[in-house]
């Protein structure tokens, strides 16, 4: 007579027990709020275990045997920027309307397509090379000699930009030594060689008379700078030791460009 009732009771007890056990297991799974609150009380920040010291990715370093000269050139570039280049670029910006400056920047960027195409090829990045070529054709025709950049809206037509310094880096050639170039700023021996190689791939190098080519380069630099006024100051302001900061910034930047 009592049996059905006790049976029912047993079933319910079993179910309850199962729910309880499962819940207990669940509560101690990682990620549960109760559990993680406990652990975070002990581990207040991810580096309490001293992981902050582990430099899994060691800093990019380069020999700087010419640091005396480099620092002098760094100072020279700094003065050059504040006393000459910045006022020139500011005046230029005030006179030349933004769409025109934009067009000029597009034009020079398009003109340097051979640099990017050849270096894509040398690095074996055939898809990027094809895209750079397509971009060049598209912008030169529909963008009217590259003054417009209709390719901008197609991500695949904008592959990471390659240069000869990156190509040499990919070939396994190290930075060599750190150099600060007059006018051009931070560089390394390898990247300076790269700049030399790229120079011969830019059409402006072959313009006759050479003076026209150089004035075009000058125009390109001033025009570019007119979009970047204030950036140098910002980086310099953020630095405690500007020389070291620009050196490391340059090395990190180039490293990821090569890896791209």
């Amino acid at each position: 007579m009592n049996n059905p009732c006790t049976h029912q009771k047993e079933v319910f007890l079993k179910k309850t027990a199962t729910i309880l056990i499962l819940s207990c297991i669940y509560m101690f799974l990682p990620g549960n709020p109760v559990y993680s609150a406990d652990s975070s009380a002990v581990q207040a920040s991810p580096s309490d275990d001293e992981s902050y010291m582990d430099e899994a990715e060691p800093p990019v370093t380069v020999a700087d045997p010419l640091s005396g000269l480099n620092r002098a050139v760094f100072e020279f570039n700094d003065k050059l920027y504040f006393w000459a280049l910045k006022p020139i670029a500011q005046g230029y910006k005030a006179v030349v309307p933004t769409p025109v400056r934009q067009g000029i920047q597009n034009f020079f960027h398009n003109l340097k397509a051979p640099v990017r195409i050849v270096n894509c090829f040398l690095q074996g990045k055939m898809e990027s090379m094809a895209n750079e070529m397509a971009r060049f054709v598209y912008n030169t025709t529909f963008g009217i000699l590259g003054f417009w950049d209709p390719a901008k809206d197609y991500p695949h037509l904008n592959p990471p930009e390659e240069d000869f310094g990156q190509t040499l880096g990919l070939f396994g050639i190290g930075n060599g030594i750190y150099l600060v170039l007059p006018f051009l700023g931070p560089s390394t021996l390898r990247d300076t060689v790269g700049l030399g190689g790229d120079y011969f791939l830019s059409p402006t190098a072959y313009i006759d008379p050479a003076a026209v080519g150089w004035s075009m380069k000058g125009e390109e630099s001033v025009n570019d700078l007119s979009f970047r006024i204030g950036q140098y100051e910002e980086l310099k302001d953020a630095a405690i030791e500007p020389y070291e900061s620009f050196k490391d910034g340059y090395l990190q930047y180039r490293k990821q460009k090569i890896e791209q």
Binding site: Q8, K9, F12, L13, K15, T16, I19, L20, L22, S23, Y26, M27, P30, G31, N32, P33, S36, A37, S40, Q43, A44, S45, P46, S47, Y52, M53, E55, E57, P59, T98, Q102, Q105, F227, G230, Q231, E234, D237, A238, A239, I240, E241, E244, S245, K247, D248, G249, Q252, Y253, K255, Q256, K257
Partner: protein, 224 residues
């Protein structure tokens, strides 16, 4: 009181006061169910991208607010922004990482002082950065990647007229709160950059001198 609600209270009352095992079982089951669903709700609450986007957009709107063009309100604006950045960025963690092995050569008081002044300095630079670049540009929040357990990388870009600048935030989560411990701009890690600078400085100078340098820099900035 609606009928389902009345039923619920009746059920709750019965299950507690009437000790029949059957109702107790149901009550226990329901409590467990609440815990389970509650957990699911919490863990989905904040994604790292959201945790970054909301404060940054608040800071941007503070920077754009015409009310603060008046110099009298400048300090107020600054304080509000600092309150947000101190919440979003873990400056103590950033200090540790920037000093790396040098952190231990700082006394605990120096560690506190350093973290404090470094926080001010980074906030200043960060405000300059987004203030300077925000004139005709927008910040786009692209993507979030889980790096490892409790760590994530949030990818953003500053869209400018001529060029996009990728800015990635390294974040970690404690107590379901995501905080930033490094910022990577165009492939350059901020913390690594400061690490090389501090390494160089601490070869020649004491921790106190470094703190003094940072203090001067911050005071110069506020004076402007």
């Amino acid at each position: 009181m609606s009928k389902p609600a009345r039923n619920f209270f009746y059920f709750a009352y019965r299950s507690v006061l009437m000790p029949t095992s059957r109702t107790r079982c149901y009550a226990l089951g329901m409590i467990m169910l609440l815990i389970l669903t509650g957990h699911a709700g919490i863990s989905q609450a904040a994604s790292p991208l959201e945790a970054l986007k909301i404060p940054i957009e608040t800071v941007l709107s503070l920077l754009k607010d015409p009310k603060y063009k008046n110099p009298d309100y400048r300090q107020q604006q600054r304080d509000k922004i600092l309150a947000i950045t101190r919440q979003l960025f873990d400056f103590t963690e950033m200090s540790k990482r920037a000093l790396a092995r040098n952190w231990k050569s700082f006394s605990s008081q120096e560690q506190l002082q350093f973290a404090d002044v470094f926080a001010d300095h980074l906030s200043n630079s960060y405000m300059d950065k987004i203030q300077g670049e925000y004139k005709d540009e927008t910040i786009v929040f692209l993507d979030q990647e889980t790096v490892s357990d409790g760590k994530a990388l949030v990818k953003t870009k500053i869209q400018r007229q001529t060029k996009d600048i990728p800015v990635d935030y390294s974040m970690y989560s404690i107590d379901n709160q995501w905080r930033v411990y490094d910022v990577n701009i165009e492939g350059v890690s901020l913390i690594k950059n400061y690490r090389t600078q501090f390494d160089q400085i601490l070869v020649k100078e004491s921790p106190a001198q470094l703190i003094e340098r940072l203090k001067k820099k911050v005071e110069l900035k506020i004076g402007n």
